[in-house]
């Protein structure tokens, strides 16, 4: 593991730590009646509105289509994720301290795996909210229509246009993953352990 790789790992770990305070993902909803938009911020340990009452308003609107109330307390992942991130940060520091290449390669694989699982899980929750509708009591029922927001990108959901995009914390995590991959590649190319 080269000196450069070690610095890359340390910078990546610092970036990962910012995800404790910065939101990971942002979903914006814009409709003719909501030119100013409603929005949700997904954080490492919670889901909140972009503006103070946005989540309430979104839940209020979702009752028309029979969607479950988005209750951050009902999402167990939001309790685990801070610990998982902590583990990743600690492991990153350990890798940097060990200065050996194999732990770095292993760390790279684990990190990408965890982040990939996180994305998949986020998509799973979105799918669940968008598809598990209370059709008995829903006020607006459109055959075949579901309301899952995209993971990344834009989608029209009735009168709303939903846009989903990584926010600062998500970008920081992606950059961190990129730096770790770069560290692995650098180390692999030089083909030697640090003196």
């Amino acid at each position: 593991m080269t000196v450069r790789s070690r610095w890359l790992v340390l910078v990546a770990v610092a970036l990962m730590a910012t995800a404790y305070v910065l939101p990971l993902w942002r979903v914006d909803l814009v409709a003719p009646q909501y030119p100013e938009g409603l929005g949700m911020l997904i954080r490492i340990n919670g889901v909140g509105g972009v503006k103070p009452n946005d989540l309430n308003s979104i839940n209020g609107l979702n009752h028309y289509i029979g969607m479950k109330t988005i209750e951050p307390d009902a999402i167990p992942e939001l309790r685990w994720m801070p610990w998982i991130l902590g583990g990743l940060i600690a492991a990153g520091l350990a890798v940097a301290a060990m200065r050996r290449r194999v732990p770095l390669y292993l760390y790279t694989v684990v990190l990408l795996g965890v982040l990939g699982t996180g994305l998949w899980d986020y998509r799973r929750w979105g799918y669940d909210y968008g598809h598990d509708l209370d059709n008995e009591h829903a006020i607006i029922k459109i055959p075949g229509m579901t309301y899952s927001p995209p993971v990344i990108g834009r989608k029209k959901l009735l009168n709303f246009t939903a846009t989903s995009w990584p926010s600062y914390g998500g970008i920081a995590l992606s950059l961190a993953a990129g730096l770790i991959v770069m560290a692995s590649v650098t180390t692999f190319r030089t083909g030697r352990e640090e003196a």
């Binding site: 103070p52 009452n53 309430n56 209020g60 009752h63 028309y64 109330t69 008995e136 009591h137």
Partner: protein, 661 residues
């Protein structure tokens, strides 16, 4: 459309825009606007764009304030003050009725004349708008974060509160005066003994603390008619100038009898001197009866409290506090220029516009250049305070505003025009006709240290043929002029409501960012608030049934109520659970002999209903709130007195709405 042709169209539109901008800019910077097209462009606010200024026009005998956008002249909102508004329940609901209490009882009307924006360092700050009620003397505060009247203070010992509210440079005081002198204390005396019993009165009201307006002191003045006022600034800081007429002290046929004297007076009041005098223990508490009404910020419930004492001071007790400036022929406006050096008087019947110098006034006071005394108040020599006179200005000068570039604009009622003149040379430089008979005129910030300028608005007393006729009763008329060039240019003619006397306009930027969009439900301290559907319920206390109800798109909870009996009074305390901008809910029920409720998000409002018949009566949301607004309804069952039907409301939370609270 192909890409090529589309881009050509876009280019074309771009070129037009550039030309348009160039044209508009040229128009804005000079007086070379080319007629109607230029004027139209100057006042055109494109769809989706916003006006440059908020204008607050007094609603005169309508008792309300009209909020307009300028330069478009579009009516944005009508704020009820000394009036009831069935549109939103103001003055009808239990929460707002105390605002209209007076020592004479509930008075849902007044004659609202003048507006005054709160000031900081002599400039409009956009916090509050103060207004006066002329008939049953009152002053009011409108909070500009939510465009609602939040405080009303009745003025004792006053009749015709006309020289009001007019604010001091840091909103320490607003003022009130009596246009009709009356016996003080008011008592049963022969009217013909006016000179013996009748007194004028000028009040200074502390105004910089919301909800805490208080009369600091009342000056008991000679029995003239006190008409209009302005605070000094700069060299005249700490002074307030009040015009007066009827120095003849006539009590009948004033049009003749009060027009005899060659000169009447401007009363110059040194309110700092009165403050010091009061602090030194001068004056006495008089027993009176008046009301102070205010809206609590968090419960949004208004209260009316009775007050029984006021501090009265005689000018003779405080030497150096009041002086009279002789001023020709029944002066109306007393307007102070941006520097604070000049006071322009509009003598209704005068052939000149006299301009007093406050610097000369201070010197004359020091030199004791008095021509005499009136009831112990020194009268300064006219020449000793005069800075100059505007000769042949026109007929019937009333009010003057300033553009901050050295020019004054005076309204001429009789010759129906605005006259622009140079403050230094007293020369008339331009005239523009008004349609018809302008009363007050208004330049944005025209009474402040730094006028915004750009426009002058004429508010006219006569409308005649300006708009499509609507029978004998016509709307009022206003005209907007561009004053950026050498010549005034008429831009827009628009109708206004009530009879606007004075108005204020302010840069929209000073107001737009402080807007409340909804009330936080967590901060709602109304005693009957219902913060979630789980807290709703129906209870009986004797013959009164309290319904604690919530409204959220698109249902009321409860929406079926049974067990109400003939002879009951039902109080619907409706809380709007929404926490989003522009989602009010309305509430109305058949046969209610009051107005609807219009409940802002997070707010609780009460409708009082006395059912007069047995049966089932629908209630519904009156403000189209959502796609299922028409479904937002319910029923109340009214049974005979003594019926065994149990009192209940279906407070069950509908399953599909489980996410909405």
């Amino acid at each position: 459309m192909s890409l090529l042709s589309r881009s050509r169209v876009l280019l074309g539109a771009g070129a037009l825009t550039v030309l348009g901008l160039g044209y508009a800019c040229a128009g804005r910077s000079s007086s070379s606007l080319a007629g109607t097209a230029g004027a139209a462009q100057r006042v055109y606010v494109a769809p989706g764009e916003k006006d440059e200024l908020y204008a607050f026009l007094s609603g005169g005998f309508g008792g309300q304030v009209g909020v307009y956008g300028l330069p478009s002249g579009r009516l944005l909102r009508t704020i009820p003050v000394f009036s009831q508004a069935p549109e939103n329940g103001w003055g009808y609901t239990d929460e707002t009725k105390p605002m209209l209490e007076t020592s004479y009882g509930f008075i849902p009307w007044d004659d609202l004349h003048h507006t005054a924006l709160s000031q900081t360092d002599g400039d409009d700050d956009g916090r509050w708008l103060f207004v006066n009620g002329n008939n049953t003397p009152r002053v009011a505060r409108i909070d500009l974060t939510h465009f609602e009247t939040t405080e009303i203070l009745e003025i004792p010992n006053a009749a015709g509160n006309h020289a009001s509210p007019f604010v001091t440079p840091n909103t320490e005081y607003i003022v009130s005066s009596t246009r009709f002198s009356i016996p003080n204390p008011n008592q049963d005396v022969p009217i013909a003994e006016y000179k013996k019993y009748f007194k004028g009165q000028i009040s200074f009201i502390t105004a910089d603390q919301p909800g805490k307006m208080d009369i600091a002191f009342q000056l008991i003045m000679p029995g003239f008619n006190y008409d209009l006022a302005r605070a000094g600034k700069g060299p005249s800081d700490g002074w307030m100038f009040f015009t007066s007429y009827n120095s003849e002290q006539a009590n009948t046929l004033l049009e003749v009898n009060a027009s005899q004297n060659d000169k009447d007076y401007i009363a110059a009041v040194n309110y700092r001197a009165v403050e010091a005098c009061v602090k030194a223990g001068k004056g006495r508490r008089a027993t009176v009866d008046y009301r102070h009404n205010y809206m609590d910020e968090f419960s949004r419930v208004s209260r009316s409290e009775r007050r029984t004492s006021v501090l009265q001071v005689l000018p003779t007790e405080c030497p150096g506090s009041v002086f009279f400036l002789p001023t020709p022929k029944s002066p109306h406006g007393a307007d102070v220029d941006p520097t604070g050096e000049f006071v322009v008087a509009g003598g209704k019947l005068a052939t000149v516009i006299p301009v007093h110098s406050t610097v000369k006034m201070l010197q004359a006071i020091k030199d004791k250049a008095f021509e005499g005394e009136l009831e112990g108040i020194p009268v300064l020599k006219y020449e000793a305070t005069l800075a100059g006179e505007v000769k042949e200005p026109g007929l019937g000068p009333l009010h003057t505003e300033f553009d901050g570039k050295g020019f004054a604009y005076t309204s001429m009622f009789i010759s129906s025009e605005i006259v622009k003149w140079n403050i230094k040379t007293f020369e008339v430089v331009d005239r523009a006709p008004t349609f018809y008979s302008v009363g007050h005129l208004m330049i944005p910030g025209g009474g402040t240290r730094h006028p915004y300028g750009r426009y002058v608005l004429a508010m006219n007393k006569i409308t005649k043929d300006r708009y499509l006729p609507t029978g004998p009763e016509l709307t009022q008329s206003a005209q907007l002029y561009d004053i950026t060039g050498d010549k005034m240019q008429l831009l827009l003619d628009f109708p206004t409501q009530g009879e606007p006397h004075y108005a204020n306009a302010i840069d929209a930027k000073k107001i737009i960012d402080r807007q409340v969009k909804f009330y936080a439900i967590a901060e709602n301290r109304n005693p009957m608030v219902t913060r979630s559907e789980r807290e709703t319920g129906v209870t009986r206390s004797g013959k009164v049934v309290h319904v604690r109800m919530t409204a959220i798109r698109s249902h009321f909870s409860p929406d079926n109520i049974e067990g109400v009996q003939l002879g009951d009074t039902v109080l619907f305390h409706v809380t709007n659970l929404e926490q989003d901008w522009d989602v009010p809910h309305g509430f109305a029920i058949t046969g209610a002999n009051t107005s609807e409720l219009l409940i802002m998000p997070g707010e609780t409002r009460t409708l009082r209903w006395v059912p007069g018949r047995i049966g089932v009566f629908p209630m519904y949301c009156t403000d189209f709130c959502s796609a299922l607004h028409q479904e937002m309804q319910g029923y109340v069952r009214v049974s005979p007195a003594g019926s065994s039907v149990a009192l209940k409301g279906n407070t069950r939370v509908p399953a599909a709405a489980r996410g909405s609270n």
